[in-house]
Every structure is written in structure tokens, then in C-alpha cells.
Symmetry: C2
Subunit: 456 residues, 2 copies
């Protein structure tokens, strides 16, 4: 038998021509977003002041299974896609496991992660609508980088609210966003009411994603020719990210493989939702039944320890309400948490699928995550992002279990990006100054107590 | 006609099975290295205490045109190679040039550059010889990263002397080397006589490549089971890097292209020598006659303003003498010089070819280089390393000339790596605090006055 190569590349012509909309095959749909003023399901007209029109339509479209990828977006995808599906021969050997391990590597582009897949789409639709610019927030910085890259390409202005602690700890992320002409403000800032209000209450706050979202949304709706864009959580983002899963599935078909276990890190759900999309379709339609595992940080455990309830997507409570697994919109992971995966909620689509038993979730502690990251780097020669390393951790754990049981199963995991901008975290792991933190039930209760009282 | 894709990938099986040794086709060979004690051509026995045996043989082999790439090295190459040959459609459009521009992108690996190609080979031969470890120096940090990656893979110890200013300015480079278990010392250090001597004379020195080389060589020859390895300048390095040119040529053949102009940045010559190897063969054998352009920084102009003479490869004057274009072994580019390409000399092979009229050389100022880098990033979506951006600058300049003359020529340049660890330099360009510096004739004379007096 011919040896499967290390890297399986599709051709540029094999890049999907349609995104796959997972919601279309869900018998029970995710609960609708609610207008926070009326408490009624958000309509297109509610969304148009915030989102580009085409994106608002995608957001509310629960029924169209396949949506054409515009040729202009496919042209951009061709610059950095298809991303390789990689056989982790060296990791398998190091673990001495009978498991076959594959990973879809989304880090070979300057944004350093899968975030570019949706940034390209959102920037394109904004440009097509004749907008002047877009606003967004960024935490660890991948999304801000990806969006500024996409906006530079389509010649669109972009304002990025960067969570203050990240702005201060990652000046290079700011610099790369500025290289692509993005305007970056540390959040909370005094450029919005939401920011000023938080600064008044907590002048020394280091910011949060929820707060940066409030600022970015406010800026968008109060600035002529601007709209707001978001890199995760939303249905539209999962739609765009389905390109990851569609390519993965096609590449696996080419080598006669199908994953028994699919593993993705989960913060807001953009990567996981994209990676699993076509495999979840198989599961929903009964064509196949792979195990699907979401991996989240023990310090921000929305799926494993959150409540499935309506909640605000931002701290300022100006965004629509979403039904999701949430830790409460004021939840902040502890200061020692490195990297992304720090959002208080989870994609409503994924939340619903998890709630209905279509996937599993585990949480992992960060020192164990970095242990996996370093092992992976040494054997696979790629330095993973801390976020991605959550999936690596669980892939390794599953491969070790398969060694113990002697099963030759196939694992697919998402390697969302590279860790070049996370060396402070690597350093603290290597110096053994990195610590773990698991919130107590008491800590979590504070967040749950603030959930809006909506039963739907 | 079918449109040429953005990225042309060879298959893993198409990775070359042999490196190409350019010296074999040179009618006039580069002058031999000289033993600094005897003044006689260095023999294998002179080199064995410093270099691994197989590498010493490659260093002195001026006659074998093709050298087998061991299967173990090809297996490593398959993890991150073949690297893509990319058609710069978007840059062409931005410049409105009739030129077809291609670039060979070597940045899609964790070391972030082409340096890994030789690091893998050198680490492999060291391991095969049963050594315990290797020593080296690193300036901008790519080489140190690449070598530590390769050594982690082959389970070999590595000690890296990192030029002190780089060690201090680039803590993340240090951290990534340490992630791969490399031991890093800022150079000059007090771990060697060479380092201590320099520290005594100049306690506040920020170090230099020449000094770091002296330390690494001393450490290797005084430590049981260690040898010294180097990431550029040497014949063996150009040999390993020929994989860049061989892949480029094969990929271009697949789309019926042949470059009229080949452009590479040149510091010690590792990338340029590798990129041009098979095309220079065509030139040497009369099969084709492309223009070949070396691009160097105006602040470190060894080819364009240096002397073609025997010189030391290090500040401590313990390495063999090499005949090369040099600015003198004590030359240091001015403090405002960003990134690599700061070595005082140039590969003896490339020096000889340049001297004999087989290639051109230009020097470019760094603000112009960063202007090109930012333009490239916005259109091609890859953030280039400052080193690589030297080639981009000249590729753009040539493409503009072709626009003026209306010629539809084909340009190939080497995009050696990514700039994620160079954001301080990008920042200074964006803030307009970056300056240019061109050494005066007076400055250069100081270096030339210290050249050893050898006529050969």
C-alpha cells in the first residue's frame, strides 16, 4: 500500500464553492437571538444597523444548507488555502499509539490562525455593501490581525478594540494590525460611552472581550458607513468556517479515511463549529457516528460548567440576547489564563448540539495544555497557539487511551494556529511559573446570578 | 489556457533526492579556505575538530555535482516541504506591471525561514556521527530557532550563542529556542575565552555575529562530543539550500516557465546560493542566461562595496580564512540596522561568481525595504521578514522598470521567511522613527585596514 504523505493538499480548484450551514440539518434549531429591548426574536431589521445586510441574512438563515462562496472570496481563499491536512506520523511514534492522528493546520497565513476564513468573508460583504469600514474587538489578537489583513486587501477601514491586557502584553500584535492599516484602541477606551462607563466604575480594569464587544458595536452603530463584525460565536462565522471541515472531509476521502474521533478547541466555537460541520451533518443525518469532542480551558468552562440560558453577548448589554452555554456576561477568566478561549459564552449552534447530546466536552488545565504543546512542537515541528494546544492535549489523551485499549482508531483534530505571539506564555511554562486555576462553584455562581431572567 | 494557480506545490515524492553542488560546474573554483596557523589550504583533518566529518567532506568537495540526500533528512523535509512557489498575482496587479512575478516562500515552518533546510542536514549528520551536541551562533534568531528545532527532532543537544543586542531585543526568539530545549547564551558571554576577552576590552558591547562565531567554535572544540555548525556562508550550507532552487526550477517547469530575472537577499548567502543553484548551473553550462541579482542592505554592503580578499570568518580569528567579499571581520552594521543580513563577509562561492561576472549585486536602504514589505503584505497577505523584504524591494523595482519598458518578463525571487519576530522594526517604520545609514568610505576603510595580508 502506498504510504499516505505527511501533508494532504487539495488543489485550489478543490476549495469548496459553497459553505455548509449546519443549522439546516438540525431537526431542533438553536433558539433565536432576542432583541434586548422587546424580548422578541431579532429580525433582519433589528440586525441591519449592526451587521452588513448579507451577513445578517446568513445569521438568521436556519434553512439553506449550502450557500455559495462568492468568487471574490474564493480568489482570496486561493492565496492561502487549501490548508494542509497533516498526518502526525511523528507524534504517533512518540506516543507509541496505534491511533492514526490527523490535524488540519490553519496557521500557514500571516494572521496565524483560521480566523482569516471568516474575516475575508465579512470584509468582502462590507465592501460590497459600499461601507467605509468595520469595527471589531480582539482578545489574543488573531482575529484583529485576520480582519485587518482582509480589510487591507479589500481596501476597507477597520477599527479594532483590543482587550487592554492584551494590548499591553502583546505590542507586536498591535503592530501587525497597524501594518495592515488597522486602527487599534485598548479597551476599555474613552472613545465610546460603554468604555467610559466601565472606566469610571473600574479605572484599573484590564478589560474583557465582553467590554470590547460593547465598544465595537457602539462605535459601529454611531459611525456613518460602518458596521460591526465578530470573529466567533455567531452563526455566520460558523458558516464561513465550515470551509475547514469541508476541506478536511474531502482530503480524508482522498486517502480513504474517516475520523472516529474529532477534536477541536472551543472558545466562542468558530474553529470547532467549522471543523465538525460536515461530520456533524453525517451524525445528524445518521450517515455516520463519529465522536466529537469540544475542548475548553478549565479556567473558562462554559460548556462543561456553564448554564444553558439566554444571556448577553457583551458586558454593556447592548447586543441581542443569545441562548447558549454561558458563565455570565461579566465572567472573566483568572489573570493567569494565557491566550484566547476566554469568552463567557459558546456559539448557540454548538450549545444546542451539545445540549442535545451530539457532542462531548472536556476541560483541560493550562500547564497540561502547554506540556502537550511542547511535546507536539518537538515532534511535529510546529509551535502551536495555546488555543490549538487544547485540542492537542485531548488528542494526545485519546491516543494514549487507544494505546491502552489497543484500538487503531482515526483521530482528526483542528490545529487552529501558531504560537509565535504567545512566547510570554511559553516562557512561563518553561520557567515553571505558569499556574492553573479552576474557578470554584462560588466564583461561577456570581456570574449565574446576573443572568437575565428569560425562559424560552 | 488554464490559469496558473496562486501556489504551485510539488508532491512530497518530488522533493529532490540529491542536493546540487554548484562548485562542480564552476570552471574556476572558489579559492580554498586557509588554515590560519599554517596559511595553507585547510585539509579535512584541519576541519574535523570543528565540523562533523560528513559536513567537512561536503565543505571541501568542489567536484561532486549531486550529493544524495539521506532518507532520514528527506523524511524531515517532507514534514514542511515542498515549499510553495507562489504567483504574485496581487502584487503584479498593484504594480500594474506586465512582469510575471513568482516567489518561493520558505516561511511556512516554525523556524520561520529557509534556515531549517540546512539545520536538518547538519543536525542529522551530527547525530549520525554519534555526537552529543552542537554549538552555533545566531543573530536575528532564525538560524538558532531552526537548529534547535532540528536538534529536538534528532534528540541532540544544542548551545546557541545569540548576539547580545538580539538576545535583549528578541526575548521571544530566545524563548522559542528554549522551547526546543536549546541552551541560549547572550554573546559575548563569560563561558569562553573569546567572549571574556571581548568583554574585558569592551564591557558594554552589544555583540556581533563574528564574536558569537568565535565563542561557538571555541565551545565546540573544547567540549567532548560537540562540533560547531553554521547557518550560512559555508559551501555545505549552500549545498543543502540548493533544495530551494531545485524545487523552484521543477515547479516552474511544471507551468512552462523559466525566470528571466532571479532575485535573492544576501547576507552570508545561504538563501541566494540555494535559490540560484540550478539556474546558475544553466548559466555556467551555457544552457540559459538569466539575470541573477543579489540584494544586500546599504548598511552592510559586502558585495557592492567590500574587498574581494582573504579574511577571517570571525572576530576572534580562530576560524579558517576564506576568500570572499568582505568589509573586514570587525565590521558592524550601524545600530539602526534591523534584522539579519549583518555579516561582514559573503559566501566564497557567491563571491567568486560575482567576481567573475555571473551575477549582479545591488544595495538597498532599509526604509525603502520596509516600504516594499508593507506593500507586499497588504497585497500578498504575507508579512515578510526584513531580510526577505530586500528581495521584494528589488523585485518591485525591476517590475516597475519592466512596466516602463513594456516587457513581459518573468521574475523569480526568494521569500525566505516571515517577520513575526520583527515587529519592533515594523513599528519603527510605521512610526517614521526608522532611519537609514550608509557607511562612509572612511568607515569602510577602517575595516579594510585590518584585513590579513594574504595574496592568493
Amino acid at each position: 500500500m502506498k504510504k499516505i504523505p505527511y501533508k494532504i493538499y487539495l488543489t485550489e480548484e478543490q476549495i469548496p464553492t459553497k459553505w455548509y450551514n449546519l443549522r439546516a440539518d438540525m431537526k431542533e434549531k438553536p433558539a433565536p437571538m432576542l432583541n434586548p429591548q422587546t424580548g422578541k426574536p431579532a429580525s433582519l431589521n433589528d440586525l441591519y444597523p449592526v451587521f452588513c445586510e448579507e451577513l445578517a441574512k446568513q445569521e438568521l438563515d436556519d434553512n439553506t444548507a449550502y450557500i455559495d462562496i462568492p468568487e471574490e472570496i474564493r480568489e482570496f481563499y486561493k492565496i492561502y488555502r487549501p490548508s494542509p491536512l497533516i498526518r502526525a506520523y511523528n507524534l504517533e511514534k512518540a506516543l507509541d499509539t496505534p491511533a492514526k492522528i490527523y490535524y488540519k493546520f490553519e496557521g500557514n497565513n500571516t494572521s496565524g490562525s483560521h480566523k482569516l476564513n471568516s474575516a475575508v468573508a465579512q470584509a468582502y460583504y462590507a465592501k460590497k455593501q459600499g461601507l467605509k469600514g468595520v469595527t471589531t474587538e480582539t482578545g489574543a489578537g488573531q482575529w484583529g490581525t485576520a480582519l485587518s489583513e482582509a480589510c487591507a486587501y479589500y481596501n476597507l477601514d477597520v477599527i479594532v478594540y483590543m482587550v487592554k491586557c492584551s494590548y499591553e502584553q502583546k505590542p507586536f500584535r498591535r503592530a501587525i494590525i497597524e501594518t495592515f492599516d488597522g486602527k487599534v484602541y485598548p479597551s476599555p477606551s474613552n472613545t465610546t460611552n460603554a468604555g467610559r462607563k466601565i472606566l469610571e466604575k473600574k479605572p484599573n480594569t484590564t478589560g474583557s472581550l465582553g467590554c470590547a464587544i460593547s465598544e465595537a458595536v457602539e462605535k459601529a452603530v454611531t459611525t456613518e458607513g460602518y458596521r460591526y463584525v465578530l470573529g466567533s460565536v455567531l452563526n455566520q462565522v460558523l458558516l464561513h468556517q465550515s470551509v475547514i471541515g469541508l476541506e478536511s472531509k474531502k482530503a480524508m476521502e482522498m486517502i480513504d479515511e474517516y475520523p472516529d474521533i474529532i477534536i477541536g478547541c472551543a472558545g466562542g466555537g468558530s474553529n470547532l463549529g467549522g471543523l465538525i460541520a460536515p461530520f456533524m451533518k453525517d451524525k445528524l443525518t445518521g450517515a455516520a457516528n463519529p465522536r466529537i469532542i469540544a475542548v475548553e480551558p478549565a479556567s473558562c468552562p462554559s460548556l462543561t460548567r456553564g448554564k444553558f440560558a439566554y444571556d448577553f453577548c457583551d458586558t454593556g448589554k447592548i447586543t441581542p440576547l443569545a441562548k447558549m452555554y454561558t458563565l455570565g456576561s461579566e465572567f472573566l477568566p483568572s489573570a493567569n489564563h494565557a491566550g484566547g478561549l476566554r469568552y463567557h459564552g459558546m456559539s448557540p449552534v454548538l450549545s444546542k448540539l451539545y445540549h442535545d447530546g451530539y457532542m462531548e466536552a472536556v476541560s483541560v488545565e493550562q500547564t497540561k495544555v502547554f506540556e502537550a504543546a511542547v511535546l507536539f512542537a518537538k515532534h511535529e515541528t510546529i509551535l502551536p497557539a495555546p488555543e490549538s494546544a487544547h485540542a492537542i492535549r485531548t488528542a494526545i489523551d485519546e491516543a494514549i487511551k487507544l494505546k491502552e485499549s489497543g484500538e487503531e482508531k482515526t483521530i482528526l483534530f483542528g490545529l487552529t494556529g501558531t504560537g509565535y505571539f504567545d512566547m510570554i506564555a511559553y516562557d512561563s511554562y518553561l520557567n515553571k511559573t505558569m499556574t492553573d486555576y479552576i474557578p470554584t462553584d462560588e466564583d461561577l455562581k456570581k456570574g449565574f446570578d446576573l443572568l437575565p431572567n428569560i425562559n424560552m
